[in-house]
Symmetry: C2
Subunit: 596 residues, 2 copies
């Protein structure tokens, strides 16, 4: 289906918005009136710019409070409409949106509304324009889609149809099934937005908190299904008012937006995406660092052994049980200090996984490979993390990344761990986008978002996982742009016995994050422990959580650059990540830093 986006959904000048929409693959745009008014380009120039960019101008919405008003007022509205229809002819837009009136002048008279809309449609028709009438959720007398449709039906004008908007319909809790009673040919336009499920004033909700389909809590796909069953064949068009998107760069937002429509089309059975290939494990995590020494010391103390070195690049492989860490000291590492740069995901079909990612607009990474390297498929996540699709030693038909490495002499690792989860810091404005990316591209399941109180602001965190928990990625974000660099990424290692692992780490010279005594005093008030158990935790800085499914014990290493490690011992039934201990961890990390 054709895809479109309202320019109000993107940040920047009109030309920046158009460029971003085109590059992201949209077929058309709705031009928001304020964007046109503020543009130095004339309507004709905007039309030409759109044509150059391969965009149609699918909708314009220059008028408010048109219908069901006293006659003299309607006369002024028609006068205004004529101006706008002339403009639309220049702009090359053939559909005008008319939202139900919110004016105190509006009269509760469907007959009058129908008659005036009919007159408006007659004028529009002279300009080759169609009028799409839409119920605003907070319309004064018309606030539901079926009411708007009854008025359109009563008017009976060929140039008058209805526009459906998923936000206005779903925010009111209207049953979208009735959409199927509208003839598809009379649905002139379909605007789509999702929103988080907030119990708040609908106008504020609509103006500030809309998001792209799949990022919120509405069943947008269900609604679109009803619309498609009417025979509607117009565009799927995004109209999203969102305070964060207004500030974010238009380019990435447009990509996220278009991805949401691709996923939506898949959900309603009209897209042609390669099927998801859910990863089955973590093959490796890759750290980049300008200085291998502190990282090597940390890995060594954690029980990793350096087992191999890349044949042509300055990359070491460290292993411990099933956990593998690559340490890359190549040129890419020089810029940002030590960080978590890439994740290898075990994939049942690496090629197919990459094809789906590419179809969902993930940048495919060029591999600057040596001739003998294994041809690994990799894409970039929205936060820049590189995702490699791997088949580690599973199938002689598939390339194994380890073939690029030459074993080096080493002692066997001293412990057996695997990667429990990885925690990535997302750009401030891409929290919901990141979850949608990981869900749609990787086929992971997104858990609930949780707020975590950092001493210097609230953080949010949401985990995406596969069904058996062998892939768990926690996506975290600060409360404001400045926090992007405030918080560290981390790698959590699942161990059999966290007490033993912590002791071994410390004995090997590793530094554990000190946890305040007050925290363990509180544990004593909350739980009963075996003799000495709490003292053990206290001595090692082990934190403790418990839910209906079991117990979670964990501790943290000191931070190197922007990365630290966590040691976790997880009862199989425990589903969380110790979020309730995170404020104590964050405060301890801040306390260990130079003064702010």
């Amino acid at each position: 289906m054709r895809t479109s986006i309202a320019t109000v959904s993107l940040s920047g000048s009109l030309t920046e918005k158009l460029t971003a929409a085109s590059r992201a693959g949209f077929d058309g745009v709705e031009i928001f009136e304020n964007d046109l008014l503020a543009s130095p380009l004339s309507p004709r120039e905007i039309r030409a710019r759109c044509a150059d960019l391969g965009l149609s101008v699918d909708l314009y919405q220059p008028m408010r409070d048109i219908e069901a008003v006293p006659d003299d007022e309607f006369g002024r509205n028609l006068r205004r409409a004529r101006h706008k229809f002339e403009l639309m002819r220049e702009l090359g837009a053939d559909t005008v949106l008319v939202c139900s009136s919110v004016s105190p002048l509006a009269i509760d008279d469907d007959g009058l509304a129908a008659e005036q809309l009919s007159r408006l449609a007659a004028l529009a028709q002279d300009f080759g324009i169609r009028v799409a009438y839409e119920a605003l959720a907070w319309g004064r007398h018309v606030s539901t889609y079926d009411h708007a449709w009854r008025i359109v039906e009563a008017a009976g004008h060929p140039a008058l149809g209805t526009c459906l908007d998923s936000f206005h319909i779903l925010s009111r809790g209207s049953d979208p099934k009735g959409i199927e009673d509208i003839p598809g040919a009379k649905i002139f336009f379909l605007q789509l937005a999702d929103a988080p499920l907030l119990a708040m004033d609908v106008l504020q909700w609509s103006r500030h908190y809309r998001c792209f389909p799949g990022q919120g809590g509405f069943d947008v796909a269900g609604l679109v299904g009803h619309v498609l069953r009417t025979g509607y064949d117009g565009p799927l068009s995004l109209e999203v008012f969102n305070d964060v998107f207004r500030q974010a760069e238009a380019g990435p937002t447009a990509v996220d937006a278009h991805r949401s429509l691709l996923v939506l089309q898949e959900a309603v059975g009209v897209g042609e995406l390669p099927a998801p290939v859910v990863p089955t494990g973590v093959a490796f995590a890759e750290l980049v660092t300008p200085d291998a020494e502190p990282v090597s010391a940390l890995l060594g103390a954690l029980g990793f052994a350096r087992t191999a070195r890349h044949r042509s690049k300055p990359v070491d492989l460290w292993e411990q049980g099933e956990a593998r860490i690559l340490v890359n000291t190549g040129p890419a590492a020089r810029r940002d200090g030590t960080g978590l740069a890439a994740i290898g995901l075990e994939s049942p079909d690496p090629r197919a996984a990459a094809r789906r990612a590419e179809a969902l607009l993930a940048p495919v990474l060029p591999r600057r490979r040596a001739p003998e390297d294994a041809p690994l498929d990799a894409v970039a996540a929205p936060d820049g993390t590189e995702l490699f699709f791997c088949a580690t030693g599973r199938d002689p038909e598939l390339p194994d990344w380890r073939a690029d490495f030459a074993e080096v002499p080493h002692e066997p690792g001293s412990a057996a761990a695997r990667i429990d989860h990885l925690a990535l810091v997302q750009p401030w404005h891409q929290y919901d986008e990141a979850a949608l990316f990981h869900r749609s591209v990787l086929g992971l399941h997104a858990q609930e978002s949780v707020d975590v109180a950092d001493p210097y602001g609230l953080l949010r965190s949401r985990a995406v996982t596969n069904a058996d928990g062998s892939v768990r990625i926690a996506l975290g974000v600060g409360a404001a742009p400045a926090d992007d660099t405030l918080h560290a990424q981390h790698i959590a290692l699942a161990v059999e016995d966290v007490v033993a692992a912590a002791r071994a780490f410390r004995a090997a010279g590793g530094g554990l994050l000190p946890i305040p005594a007050n925290y363990h005093d509180d544990l004593a008030a909350r739980y009963e422990f075996a003799d000495g158990e709490l003292e053990t935790y206290r001595g090692l800085g082990i934190l403790y959580d418990r839910d209906a499914g079991g117990v979670f014990r964990h501790c943290y290493t000191r931070t190197v650059g922007r990365v630290f490690f966590e040691l976790v011992e997880r009862d199989p039934g425990y589903r969380g990540y110790g979020a309730q201990n995170a404020p104590v961890r964050l405060a301890a990390q801040h306390a260990g830093r130079p003064a702010r």
Copy 2:
């Protein structure tokens, strides 16, 4: 009255919070449990730190879901309480807050609640601790203050009283008058918070959007009046959960917080603040600039004449009618480029105005004066703008700032303007604080806040004015911290005839901000104009607005540094600032800048 603040209201580590509260003048603190748990200081050390800072520890709230639970659960709760009471003895806190239960285990049985609270109070009494029971607005069975009080009354234990919280009472729309039925001695604590009037889920509203009294929409003073009439003599304590305050620097937030309590006490008649002295006009606006030339050229083109020079400092006075601009090229100007640094306000009693400002915690500015300078009273606003209280040529008894200036030869100014309004950019996290400051310190009235769509994010703006509109200050803020430097301050000059003024400005070589033709095309659709009128506006970049009170015509100069001028012609009945034209102006200003 004694003032207190919950540590959760401030950003940072516990010791940062305590220091900020003490410096801002609070008498005590409520220690939030998470702050204690995350602190490396033991409870005894925290007590000592508080004592050093002159702070009492007025409240601790370590327990949830205590009452009306099955007996075995209550046994665990008592066990936990004993731990916490021991801690409180170390901490030197003698009042514990118990919020009504939100647990699914809680039983709807007031008798059971009273009996268990009584048992808890008996245990507390052994430790010299009082229990203050408070109804959470979202409590499972107890959600109103009168219900909580009935349970306390039924329990009848001397160590059990109630805690009132303005948010929980006013967010539910409860009538606070019934507070007067509670004996003051049984009100063990009073927590205060305001909040913007949002129609949203009360839990989310409470956790993220509380603000200090006077910053929101609740009648907190009215509630406090009821409480004081009971004879309550405990502290006024702020407990504010706010996402923005969590990120803002603790020092300024604590000052804003304490100011809000001073204003609140004045409102309920228990404070001793000097009375407000409302300014009666704008004496001058002061620009600082490292390079006087572009500013001088701009002022000259606007019709200002350089009339005088400061006797001892590199400051020029420019005049035009009643409008006076100081241009300061002194050392302070070197850092930030050209900006609006100070405002002179005509004050009926400058000394008294300064005394009130100082009593309300505005920093009094030291004047590095030459011996002969007039002793001007001045304070700093939260955004750093210097506010001078002036008596320009009004009273021979009062110092006149112009005496510091020596006239220089000049032609008379070519036009007659006055300052219509000044627009200041506020730090991101101080929007509500700025309004409260200007209201309370200067006695100005705050108008409604409006959202303005900038191409790169939403801005908010709110004007503070005196009754006759001779002082109008628009306080603007961006949507995120990064926007602080994105938007310019401006000085709006009221002129008799904006068309003539714009033409004269241009004829004198001044550069007007170009406004897109699309904007004027839209005016043609919305209004009918006399022949040629619209073409005149189009040619000069004049914008047009109209409300029930009249018409507003305005245009803008190009920006110099971070400052531009606006020329405005305002019908006397028009109360606004052309906010609906602001998006076009902002887009035009962005378009005139180097690419982002």
